[in-house]
């Protein structure tokens, strides 16, 4: 397997950055890690998760769509899309890699979202296998193998060595391009780490939750009508933190910024189904109470999405909402309450 010594990592990064934009998790001042554009001196963070997910690279927090220029009575539409440079995201965990598939299902189906596709086409994902999962992780529940993540290239970090395995054509080409960086070594340490990690994953508290009843059409109505929604959502503050840290939440709003000189910048930005002013563009939000909005979020991830997408759940078990929710409500508590666990 292709390997690289940890000591050569920065050299590798510098080389990538010469030809592409490189993003990777770096520890910030609070001790947590977050994706950032690599600059000389940045150290790759091996932390389990970044606070924000990696979805921002393809589904940006906010993104300009086009400009409208008004000249007296005439309106001119200006496409403001700039050419996107090829970029590489390094160190994406298995759960986040899986989230790209979930987003693809939404944005790459007809009609294709060209803004999303544009970014997707220009991005290359180097994933990183997990070796120290947290008790709040439950990707295994959704059949994600964190020890062997997807991506254009999958990677492992065993002690002071990094192992790479290209999975796609894009990955192959990349490896070829940077072949002088790698040496070829035995992959036994990887196998060993995989085994050890799987051993831990089995003992994680949420990987064996009972998912029966979710994701099937004939149980939809029953789950929808469960009385537990009321209690579970009773202290939901509707802040949307869960949706903003979630790698699979995919809703956006389209808004106008009036520059004031007769031109308008139309942009889209993340939205949250937890907000009372969600989906107001057509009329009013059809979900009138926080309970309804709360239910919507989990119904979408656990029932509607899998029904539409061959049983794939809209959750990847990254555990971010378990950490971030201000009132400690989360999808695990919902699954437990609804799924007879």
């Amino acid at each position: 397997m292709l390997t690289l010594n940890a000591s050569q990592l920065d050299e590798f990064f510098a080389l990538i950055e010469k030809k592409r934009e490189l993003y990777l998790p770096v520890e910030n001042k609070t001790g947590k890690s977050e994706y950032k554009r690599w600059v000389e001196g940045d150290k790759y963070s091996t932390a389990l998760r970044t606070v924000k997910s990696a979805k921002n690279f393809f589904f940006a927090k906010s993104e300009n769509l086009y400009d409208l220029k008004m000249d007296h009575k005439n309106v001119e539409v200006i496409d403001t899309r700039e050419d996107i440079k090829e970029f590489v995201i390094f160190g994406v965990r298995g759960c986040d890699v899986k989230s790209f598939d979930i987003l693809d299902n939404v944005y790459l189906q007809d009609p294709v979202d060209t803004y999303y596709k544009n970014r997707r086409d220009h991005g290359l994902v180097i994933s990183m296998a997990c070796s120290k999962p947290a008790t709040t992780c439950f990707c295994a529940l959704f059949d994600i193998d964190a020890t062997s993540p997807n991506g254009d290239i999958q990677a492992w970090n065993v002690e002071d060595k990094f192992y790479f395995n290209p999975l796609t054509e894009k990955g192959d080409a990349f490896v070829e391009e940077f072949k002088e960086c790698f040496t070829d070594e035995d992959s036994k340490p990887v196998e060993k780490q995989k085994e050890e990690t799987l051993n831990i994953i089995e003992r994680l508290p949420f990987v064996n939750l009972n998912m029966e009843g979710f994701g099937v059409e004939d149980k939809l109505k029953a789950i929808f009508d469960r009385p537990e929604w009321e209690d579970l959502s009773s202290t939901c503050i509707g802040c949307g933190t869960c949706t903003y840290v979630c790698p699979t939440c995919q809703c956006f709003d389209i808004k106008d910024f009036n520059v004031g000189d007769g031109s308008i910048k139309r942009f889209r930005c993340w939205d949250s189904c937890m907000y009372s002013d969600f989906t107001q563009m057509a009329a009013a939000n059809p979900r009138l109470t926080q309970t309804a909005r709360f239910r919507q979020r989990f119904m979408h991830k656990l029932v509607y999405y899998p029904i539409k997408n061959e049983g794939i759940y809209g959750c990847v078990g990254c555990g971010r909402c378990l950490v971030s929710c201000p009132v400690q409500m989360n999808i695990v508590k919902v699954i437990k309450a609804m799924g007879d666990n």
Binding site: F257, V259, G260, D261, K265
Partner: protein, 148 residues
Amino acid sequence: MSVKEKTEFQPKIVAFCCNWCSYAGADLAGTNRTNYPANVKIIRVPCSCRVNPIFILRAFQRGADGVIICGCHPGDCHYITGNYYTRRRMTLLFSMLDFLGIEKDRTRVEWVSASEGGRFAEVMTEFTNDVKAIGPNRKLEDLRCKAK
């Protein structure tokens, strides 16, 4: 205006003036033909207490380099107490902007009565010079409003 003046940095300055004292003071400056920089543009408000911190930030967002709020002298407010509230609000707001590292000289409150036309012009000249000295607003700008 000389060529030099035209090429130097010309700040945009928004002045919120209360209808009863400061706006009248500005009118008096006009009646007396007292010059002050054309950088200053006045927005009339009923009372200085009408000025919401949001307006001030909005001005910076939209490209202002300085914002000054003028009202009646404390104790002389047409609405009895309005400027007392202005004083507290703006003291705290300015202190907060300073805390965030925004230049202190970009914001100011001055009490100008209807009879102080000369002072109005002096204050505006001084404030404009202060803002010129610290240069364009970078810390509270919104680049979307600069692309022209």
